[in-house]
């Protein structure tokens, strides 16, 4: 009997381990994740700024990616740089225009990360009314709208035509513009269609114009502010052929041009002179994040292993009295070979790890946008005056430079006097030089409906010898100007599968 009781007691004590197991199951919650809507459910501007910063982070993902960042691809796809034969042949499919929808890298990455930035900004916009009305709320909404427009603009110019690119560009297929307000984000399983380029630019401009009225004057490094939005507007209006608006928007930007003394420090992140928009990285705590400079070169024990180097003609078109030659070019030595290395992304002062902030939009571009718009409207003297402001600030006085006897350098700055076609060429020349290797060139050629023309005789080495580009010319109107919709989208979205760009 005693045995029997103890046996039963033991059994019951075992069974007691199983009480309340159901509760354990139901109480389990995620540990390091939050529901974004819950996180943004209170009147807490800081939380919303965290969410906006997350969206900037997504933009940074596709600008700074060390394998396929937009910051570099805009030039690798153009005539500014040429592949160095002693590198890893990274982005070869892009430089040689061999890309197809399944080509890894830029095609997929830009599409992915831009839409993630858009999703992040839509989440902010969806919850915005949890904030009290006022400047704080307006500033958050302004940033979110700005990011949304910016990411869509990048998508539109990569995968679709630019309105000024050809006569019928506005009626060709652009991208899908995803707006929470229009119910675009309601259905996760949606298989959206591409809209036209014209429709895209209406929405991009709509978001930016709204943002301009809401956003604060200063939000700190790496974030959009009033100058940033107007800077973007000056660019978008120019792309859209709305030249007077481009001039007006440019005039709203108060950021001062970097001086010739400041300019070198801009690229080592020693100063932020002339920066209107940048995507920033903290090189201490984010030392594992992308190093954008790898797109152009890596350096190891004194050897610079270049991937892409400056085109011989571009390098030689810059006068020695122009500070930008020194900002842009350095002699990149790898073993027995020397190249015109790209200097803008070597790293912070004293570094060669390629980890620097992304210069998305600078005051110089705003000025160039304005000069080009003035020229397009026929205001030639105005355009020349605007251009001369930039040229003067890039001139290095005689006492500050090492005289190069090979170059016919000016002793003092003399304003340019071009007119007509020469002025137009001068504006484009200054634009090419000023913005070289900052992701513009491919889009500038594209939006102007021009051809990509690499000199078929220029090799990769510093003296123009070496291996010339495999593909020298992409004529205006060629399908390669519109990158293909990535294969993953084609596979997942039968609607867009019917809308692939021609040629792919």
């Amino acid at each position: 009997m005693k045995n029997k009781i103890s046996k039963i007691l033991v059994l019951f004590s075992f069974m007691s381990f199983f009480t309340a197991c159901d509760d354990e199951l139901d109480e389990l919650q995620p540990f390091v994740e939050v529901n974004p809507d819950t996180f943004l459910s209170e009147n807490n501007v800081t939380a919303f700024q965290n969410a906006v910063d997350g969206a900037y982070g997504q933009l940074w993902q596709y600008y700074a990616d060390s394998a396929n960042g937009l910051q570099g691809l805009g030039d690798i796809l153009s005539d500014n740089v040429i592949q160095a034969q002693s590198g890893r042949r990274s982005n070869n499919a892009y430089h040689d225009y061999l890309f197809v929808p399944s080509t890894a890298g830029f095609i997929a990455n830009t599409w992915d990360e831009a839409y993630e930035a858009i999703n992040a900004s839509n989440i902010v916009i969806r919850n915005i009314d949890n904030l009290e009305n006022g400047a704080g709320k307006d500033n958050i909404l302004g940033q979110a709208l700005g990011i949304r427009a910016w990411a869509h603009f990048d998508l539109a110019r990569v995968y679709g035509q630019v309105p000024t690119q050809s006569a019928g560009a506005n009626s060709t297929l652009g991208i899908f513009y995803s707006k929470f307000e229009d119910g675009d984000t309601d259905d996760l399983l949606a298989q959206p269609a591409r809209e036209t380029v014209g429709e895209n630019y209406i929405e991009i401009i709509g978001d930016l114009e709204r943002a301009a009225e809401l956003i604060g004057a200063s939000n700190g490094e790496g974030r959009l502010d009033r100058n940033g939005i107007y800077g973007l507007l000056s660019r978008v209006y120019l792309y859209n052929g709305e030249y007077q608006k481009a001039i007006d928007a440019a005039d709203e930007v108060s950021t001062e041009l970097a001086t010739s003394e400041e300019l070198p420090g801009v690229y080592t992140d020693s100063n932020n002179a002339g920066i209107v928009i940048e995507l920033a990285v903290n090189t201490t705590t984010e030392a594992n994040f992308f190093n954008v400079g790898v797109l152009y070169s890596q350096s190891s024990r004194g050897n610079i292993i270049s991937e892409y180097v400056l085109d011989f003609d571009l390098t030689n078109s810059i006068n020695a009295d122009d500070i930008r030659l020194d900002v842009l070019q350095f002699d990149a030595v790898n073993g027995d070979n020397t190249y015109n290395g790209v200097k803008k992304f070597l790293g912070e002062e004293g570094q060669n790890n390629g980890r620097v902030d992304i210069k998305v939009l600078r005051a110089a571009e705003v000025l160039l946008n304005k000069a080009e718009a003035q020229f397009e409207l026929g205001f030639e003297p105005d355009a020349l005056a605007t251009l001369n402001i930039l040229r003067e600030s890039r001139f290095v006085p005689a006492e500050n430079r090492d005289d190069d006897p090979l170059n016919d350098v000016m002793e003092t700055y003399t304003p340019g006097t071009e007119t007509g076609a020469a002025l137009e060429a001068a504006i484009q020349f200054e634009r090419r030089v000023e913005l070289a290797c900052e992701g513009h060139r491919f889009f500038d050629i594209k939006r102007r409906g021009e051809s990509i023309e690499r000199d078929p005789d220029n090799g990769d080495l510093i003296d123009g010898t070496g291996t010339p580009p495999q593909i020298a010319t992409i004529p205006a109107g060629n399908f390669r100007f519109q990158l293909p919709i990535p294969i993953n989208e084609i596979n997942a979205n039968p609607v867009m599968a019917e809308q692939q760009n021609p040629g792919y």
């Binding site: 046996k7 069974m15 381990f17 199983f18 197991c21 159901d22 354990e24 199951l25 139901d26 389990l28 995620p30 540990f31 939050v34 974004p36 996180f39 700024q49 965290n50 969410a51 910063d53 997350g54 900037y56 982070g57 002693s86 590198g87 890893r88 042949r89 040689d96 197809v100 399944s102 992915d112 839409y115 993630e116 999703n119 992040a120 839509n122 899908f176 995803s178 399983l189 949606a190 790496g222 920033a280 903290n282 984010e286 030392a287 594992n288 190093n291 790898v294 890596q298 073993g335 004293g350 570094q351 060669n352 291996t467 495999q470 993953n488 989208e489 596979n491 979205n493 692939q500 792919y504």
Partner: protein, 1028 residues
Amino acid sequence: MRTKFSGILTLFLAFIVQITFAQEKTISGTVTDNKGLPLPGVNIIVKNTSSGTQTDFDGNYTITANRGAVLSFSYVGFEEKEIIVADNTSINVQLNESEAVLDEVVVTAYGVGRKSSVTAAISTVATEDIEDFVPSTSIDNILQGQASGVQVTAANGRPGNTAFVQIRGVGSLTGSTTPLYVIDGVPVPIRENDQFNPLSNINPNDIESVSILKDAASASKYGSRGANGVVLITTKKGRSGEAKITFSSSYGFGERIPDPFDLLNAEQKLEIERQYADLGVSSAQSLPGATLNASQRASLIALDTDWEEELLRKSVIQNNALSIAGGTEDLTYFLSLGYNKDSGIIDRIDGFERISARLNTTYQAKKWLNISANFSASRSSTDLPRDRNNVQNPFRGLYDYNPYAPLFVRDGQGNIATDDLGNPIFNRGGGIFFPIAEALTTEPEDSRNLLFIGNLAADITFSEKFSNRFSVGVINNRFNGTTRSLPGGVLQGFVGDANFPGTQTNSFDLDLEYNVNNLFTYSDTYNDVHNLTASFLLEYNENIRQESFTTARGFPTSTIPFLDVAAEPTRVGSNEARRILFSQAIFADYDYDGKYSVSASVRRDGSSRFSPDDRYGTFYSGSVAWNIAKEAFMDGSIFNALKLRASYGTSGNQEIPDFEFLDAAEFTTYNGNTALRPERFGNPTIKWEGQSLLDIGLEFGFLNNRINGVVDYFKKTSDDLLLNRPLSTTIGDENNSLVSNVGEIENSGIEISLNADIIRTEDLKVSVGGNITFIKNEVKKLINDQDIIRGIFGNSILRVGEEVNAHYLVEYAGVNPDNGAPLYVDLEGNVTEEFSNSFLKLQKDKSPLPSYQGGFYGSIKYKGFGLRGDFVFRGGNYILNRQRASGVFIGNIDSNLREEVFNYWRQPGDTNVLPLPSNANEATADQFGTTRFLEKGDFIRLRTLTLDYTLPSKFLDVLPIDRLRVFATGQNILTFTDYEGDPEIGIGSAESGTPDGNTFDPNFVPGAFSQFSYPQVRSYIFGVEVAF
């Protein structure tokens, strides 16, 4: 729950002090066959208790039993004998060869059963089947070819790496087809997503048997975790009697299995460069073959580096194992120690090392209470070379590096150049962008795992009819990882901070899974013929994982691998994850006189992986068996065993990440500020993946059981399949997918296994056996019948009516004989020189899944000599040979290539050639996703060949040892295949295609492609085994 768990320990201590003395005695004796020869391995069980033993090599046994207890002696091929314990302490038994064979004890779901009455399809792999494989360091690798219906593919050849195991085809499409492993009742947590797999840390020498539960009759008992099948691993136990000490030691070496093709040598490489340059391939213009003069070329040709020799080496494999087993009346113990080392074939790193210890004990605490405790601890350390398709992978380097590039820099005289310290300088020229040989020493990455597995069980016998088993199992793994980038090292030059040279990341992961279960059992026999057993199970299982890491930079010296000396920390992190499963189940088994058996089970599981509304799933099974051999009309037939059985049941799968039913965002930083990043969209409607499995099987044995086998037909339908359903990228999801229940697939097939003892005499025994499985699979349903295109490269597809994961490629039509341009077939069937992704199409009946697979062996034993060969084979699968593509692409002329590149189009009319190398053809020829690189994966491989010699006992009599065996084993020594590479492909390339290179991609399809993963190894091992 945690406090409850600690309470159990106290409870056990309380039991242990209540020592009582049972009325037991020790009985010993010898078991012989009808010719008087000793029978080793005879099972001896004290009926109606859980105690039992086996005879040793000489047929001797010792067991404790009460006076009046019934001892049952059983052995395959012999009649069972029962003897009542009387006054004698010595019982010698002679067994007669029997007709009622196959009556082994098999480990079954939540218990043991007799093979003759089990209604389930179970394959058992016993210790003697696997001892030749022991040098394989992971249990799952050992199972290859051993059991029908079980497909095992080594993930890759890295020492200590695990395998992909599929039981009866692909039951599930989520990353994992891995079955549930249960070690002595403790489920083993395996998470491929985190590359966490404790199987590699278990000493295979400790294993007594492995039972593979394949059909619903037993898998359903594991409910939600049984859909991929269940592998029950039982470790060895001691037997009462004098201690048996067994020691074994082996030593050997391994090398990469040679490729069935040649790479170019220096002279050939320079020549092909010259030819490409002449043909106008621009990327060849600046290569040495095009630019150097004859004498410069001659000096390069003289270098002719064999990169395999420079980067790889012969691995050294060492295994030592010691076990001590024995027991007294109340207590049995099995103690083991193991040491394994495999240096791996990559030169300059340490490879894999494991040391393990185990103690298994049972104790008869009271007459009605038996407690047992199994504990094991093991520590393994392994180097982790980069296994991705890039310049950091040595297995890519040996194919890529040009043979005219030397390992070390040469000075003007051709001597090896040295640095200030006199060390040779690694070469970075000649197409070597990243010196892997150097990086292996300056970028070390290694991990240490400390694994504890403990299992405590208490068996209570209430009465003859009621019993209860309560058990607690714990698996605890501590992972320490160190990733260093030494100051002054290769990577630091590229990405380091000049002011803070060197980085190091220490990561620490703690995994704890505990499992508490209670099984209450009623068993009864009516009228001597109706046998009924019914059990009620409660089970609670929780998995807790904690992770943390710290990264610092700025190391003053490369010799101190600790963060203390670092200048500053740069990143830290920690997180936790949990998963809970709570289950209730009822099992019932009935048989009539051992002839007709019926079993049924119902189990209800609740999982935290699903939303509260869809949390519970109910799984059931029913099975019947007819033991025909026991029927009177079978008397005198040639059959010793003949059993027909059938089962049907359901099980489930929850192998998806946690909390997929919730929207989630995570925190990261942007420019040093906190940033909220949306992580995923939740799918609140996801529910259990279900599976129903029908099995009909016939087990037979005849001619004194010298020929025996099993035939099974099965049909497995998996519905509500959990899979990452692709989303339009425009939605902005981080993975562009939503975990969903997407459809239904069906696997059906026939498994046959057959063993025959062709000759069975005293001196000579010849036996052969094998198994083969024919399997078909088909996608039956998908949401809206819409195709799902998957795979890391988008080259696999799910389409209704087709094979699962069929290859999705552009069809290649060879080379245009007129101009040497590659040709493709568009969707209308036109042959064109264009290549477009829009030509992608499903390749009918070509998938990575084999249509047949199996293994066979032959064994000869003559006196003390033994020779056994085990083959594995597979066929009907197709592999995309991306590795070959890399070796022939025109644009890869700057790397080394395969010899076949000389076979390009040279003049009109050439066929069966590679495309003419030109810039224009590079655009169309250099495409991975085409049928040009799709190859049959059929192969037969001699997995092991073992020659051994066991010293006859007459020689041993003079020595104080019972057994001495010497052996030599070769693994992977022969392979027959047409595949242009190694056809045994698991992961292809572990890190390919994922953004951060470290996480397991849910889209990954094992075996779909090859891409420079750690290759399989051929090894030769010599060893000795002593028992005393």
